[in-house]
Symmetry: C2
Subunit: 248 residues, 2 copies
DNA sequence: GAGTGTGAAAATATTCACAGCA
DNA sequence: TGCTGTGAATATTTTCACACTC
């Protein structure tokens, strides 16, 4: 159910002899953990893979397989202890200690992310914003100060920032990525539509909000095409025959 | 390279006899299309699958295979005509006509997305914001008015909204989804961490920004564990032996 | 009886490698 | 010669189904 606007590649999975854990599985762990937090706050003590699966929209087998990559957390015939599993998942995800974040780009998206409470609540405190626009430098957004980009190394170091978010236009994305790497950041999330690369040792994830709209647009358009123009030849070959019946 | 925080399931892919196009392939089409736009604005007329591949971080075979799902767009020995391929991709993605969008939830994230220029520029004009907080109703954010949620059906209909973005806390996500469906929206992007369901005929995509931070956190933590605690037994069984060498 | 953990099977997606055309 | 289009091979991910335990 969770697809992810995959990041990475470039920082390969080369000599990773691990049983290799699918990234999608880790993404689901993140979702499970939040469902567990919710159960815990509701006073629920035990949960089955089937209940988790239903709540987050996957199959029970997927839940169990995902968990099995990391160990045996359940009790046969009973299920999982909510508090314990929750804690284990946070450990696995590395969420037991805060990971300071800096944001480069104090435009619309950067400002929005800076003031979004979801990140600090999850253990990712936003330490600073950076921009090159002198009209923005010196301002504060929701208690977070905007610094000139030239101060990135100094402030990243002082705040112990390990993660950087790139929220600049695409033609500046790569140079900002370079600056973040130089400043010692170990993980980057690039919100610009232009893929960036980083040397081994720095993880990059690409998050493109527009892709999701495009994907919806494709699906909506396709449904219409399937219904109205099944024989238009827009989709070539063997699809033709099936299109009519495939309106869902 | 692009992962997607998968939406759907629930609105199955059942009797879809199509050769079936991987969602990931469509997501990449979206990325290719933006690279092509960039090339076009730079006056470049021709491009090869290899150049596209390098620019967006995938393999040339992937580019060609993705395109081949939709037809033959290139010329052997030459490559693709930038303008033509770009236009075809926009057609495929359904981006030739605007798809009006409404946003429910005028909090931090909703406001941010409302004022984010990337969406309207891509053909997704934001028509209205909705909230139940009377302190927010009546305000304008970047030229977009905030209405009370009760006016959703009326305004969605008047603006021809086909896509709705859910930006409310997780415990209200499903009821907002229901309201959007009732208002006639055909596609939903849910930014709340709580998966929502919709009846067949309405596409739902789940976009969870925190998942990406969690994924980074996992990778960063794992690297540290791999280096420092390969023999701690944190990862069970067969991984042990390989862990030391897997520091990347 | 209920529900986990997991090999094996099935389904998907990616990459290879080469035939074919400009 | 150069680069596309694509069936076949490979790799990956999901699902099945059942042995095992509480």
């Amino acid at each position: 159910m969770y697809d992810t606007l995959h990041g990475k590649r470039g920082n390969q999975g080369r000599f990773q002899k691990y049983p290799h854990i699918p990234e999608a599985a880790v993404a689901r762990l993140s979702v499970y953990s939040r469902y567990l937090a919710q159960l815990a706050s509701g006073g629920i003590h035990t949960v089955s893979s089937d209940e988790i699966a239903r709540a987050v929209g996957v199959t029970a087998a997927t839940v169990r397989k995902d968990l099995s990559f990391f160990g045996d957390f359940g009790t046969r015939g009973v299920g999982y202890r909510v508090a314990e599993l929750h804690e284990r998942l946070l450990e696995i995800l590395g969420l037991t200690a805060p990971q300071p974040v800096v944001i480069v780009g104090a435009g619309k998206l950067g400002s929005a992310l800076a003031t979004y409470h979801g990140f600090p609540e999850r253990g990712f405190p936003i330490k600073a914003l950076f921009d090159v626009d002198s009209a923005k430098v010196g301002r504060r957004l929701g208690g977070i100060e905007v610094y000139h980009l030239s101060r990135l190394p100094e402030i990243a170091s002082a705040t112990g920032a390990v993660i950087g978010l790139i929220c600049v236009p695409f033609d500046q994305a790569q140079e900002v990525a370079n600056a973040l790497v130089a400043a010692g950041v170990k993980g980057i999330i690039n919100f610009s539509p232009r893929p960036v690369t980083a040397p081994p040792g720095v993880e990059v994830r690409q998050v493109d909000l527009s892709v999701n709209l495009d994907l919806l647009s494709f699906q909506l358009t396709r449904r219409r095409v399937g219904l109205a123009a099944a024989h238009s030849g827009f989709f070539s070959g063997q699809e033709e025959g099936a299109a009519t019946g495939a309106a869902r």
